[in-house]
């Protein structure tokens, strides 16, 4: 990746490297277009077949990410709390989640969680719980959110802790409450620090949504596999699926980079 990004020394060099990165995005898009035009069979057919999967992948990523941003902050604040019980509970949550593969967590939520609820319903004699059925899309978003919120909380925590202690003290000495100080003094500064790792989390989450294909969600990856299975062609679907992921991740990386530059200039 670094080879396309030569010298960062002079502003001019940086400007060219930005253009080169966009060039890469356009090259990937152009490649998709060329493949579709030059060989409509199978590439155009694949593209039409998997396009709803692209939408599912993007929707899952966006919804999960918004929830991750909110829940991650809550977890981070709880872990920085003075109340040991609160801190303890969320520290255990983060440690457990980080120690279990995402795929296993998704399998748990989809396969194991519904029967647990149903069994609970049987013992509580509650028809609503006995008839509980898991919606794959909901379970996928739930699983990704719970997992990534644990990762994100560590990003937030590092960002908050990177702000000098004197900032909180100055805010508190002016009579602000803890949450006012967080809201107006600490977080606005921390956000600038954590923007690059938050952007990376977004891109990693986008790629990890491919795992939800194994829990009955018709995302891009699953649609690719379905096309392969019904048409008996193993190569072209994965070329097209890879290119589509690449477009999404490369554009995301550009957007993150752009926001980073913008907040830097404001300083």
């Amino acid at each position: 990746m670094q080879t396309a990004n030569p010298s960062q020394a002079s502003p001019n060099a940086r400007k060219t490297s930005i253009d080169q990165w966009w060039l890469l995005v356009f090259a990937v898009i152009a490649l998709i277009v060329i493949l579709v035009i030059a060989q409509p069979n199978p590439y155009q057919r694949i593209l039409i077949f998997v396009q709803d999967g692209v939408w599912v992948t993007l929707r899952t990523t966006m919804i999960s990410f918004v929830l991750v941003l909110i829940l991650g902050l809550v977890v981070a604040l709880a872990r920085l709390s003075k109340l040991w019980l609160l801190r303890g509970i969320f520290t255990i949550y983060v440690e457990i989640i980080r120690g279990i593969p995402v795929l296993v967590q998704l399998l748990f939520w989809y396969f194991a969680f519904p029967p647990i609820i149903q069994n609970l319903g049987t013992s509580l004699n509650s028809p609503a719980l006995i008839n509980y059925k898991a919606d794959p899309n909901f379970m996928a978003i739930l699983g990704l959110t719970i997992c990534y919120a644990a990762y994100m909380s560590e990003v937030y925590r590092a960002g908050i802790q990177s702000i000098p202690k004197g900032q909180m003290e100055a805010a508190r000495s002016l009579g602000m409450t803890y949450f006012q100080a967080m809201r107006y003094v600490i977080l606005p500064q921390a956000i600038r620090v954590i923007l690059p790792p938050v952007g990376n989390e977004f891109i990693t989450l986008l790629k990890d949504t491919s795992l939800i294909s194994v829990v009955a969600v018709s995302d891009l990856t699953r649609r690719g596999r379905e096309f392969m299975a019904s048409n008996f062609i193993p190569i072209q679907p994965w070329i097209m699926v890879s290119l589509l992921y690449l477009v999404m991740t490369l554009i995301s990386a550009r957007v993150v980079h752009y926001i980073e530059q913008k907040t830097k200039i404001e300083r």
């Binding site: 004197g166 100055a170 508190r172 002016l174 009579g175 600038r192």
Partner: protein
């Protein structure tokens, strides 16, 4: 001076793990008084100052500020709005302009309108001598200017008491006087001030009492002229011989 102290400190103890930072400190500060606290580093003077607005919790004893005991969270916040604090490292908010630094707490704590808060802020910037820096960011100011903004920010809350924690220790020598001048003017207006500082000139000019702390205790207190030129305690003499020249 009235008979009721505005700050009442009674037998306060503070431990950091094994370190016994404050060992039973008693001190009364009266309205309009200026107190200067000196002492070697690690003597507990900053810790004592930070206990007054409860930035530091204490383990034993009692502190009452303007009739409010420092016990519940609500009381602590009430005290903090009455007590302004100026830090060694200024602690301005770097993501806000000078004006925004002075507006923030006025708006969200004092709930003042934007117009009123801005008027107060600009008046104070005028008072501390940097009216032209309102729209600059802290990083664009010199240390002395930053510290004067920090004083203005604290004053904007209309505190009854101002605490200064080594306000000139992080400054280049040529910038110390401009900060001390602002503090002197404040003292002459009758502000109650507790100042941790080794600026003897300021102490002589402004302080009613000087206090020497060592090893978590108040060793000696006297008017600054008496304490500096004619100390009674050996520890005071030993400390002053290192500081004065």
């Amino acid at each position: 001076m009235t008979s009721e102290p505005i700050i009442h400190i009674e037998n306060v103890h503070k431990r950091f793990g094994n370190v016994h930072a404050l060992r039973g400190v008693n001190l009364d500060v009266y309205k309009g008084e200026v107190i200067v606290i000196i002492g070697p580093s690690g003597s507990g003077k900053s810790t004592l100052l930070r206990c007054i607005n409860r930035l530091e919790e204490f383990d034993e004893g009692r502190i009452v500020v303007d009739g409010i005991p420092l016990d519940t969270a609500a009381n602590i916040n009430a005290v903090r709005t009455e007590v302004g604090m100026v830090f060694q490292q200024f602690n301005l908010f770097p993501h806000l302009t000078v004006l925004e630094n002075i507006l923030l707490a006025q708006r969200i704590v004092r709930k003042r309108s934007k117009e009123e808060a801005t008027r107060i802020a600009l008046d104070l910037l005028h008072k501390v001598g940097i009216p032209d820096k309102a729209h600059n960011y802290p990083i664009q100011l010199s240390g002395g200017q930053q510290q004067r903004v920090a004083i203005a920010r604290a004053l904007a809350m209309n505190p009854k008491i101002m605490l200064f924690d080594e306000p000139t220790s992080a400054l280049d020598p040529e910038m110390i006087q401009e900060v001390l001048d602002v503090m002197l003017a404040l003292a002459r207006e009758g502000m109650t001030m507790v100042v941790v500082s080794h600026e003897m000139g300021f102490a002589r000019a402004a302080a009613h009492r000087a206090i020497l702390m060592d090893d978590g205790q108040i060793v000696e207190e006297a008017p600054p002229d008496v304490l500096f030129s004619n100390p009674k305690q050996e520890r005071t003499k030993a400390f002053l011989s290192k500081v004065l020249h």
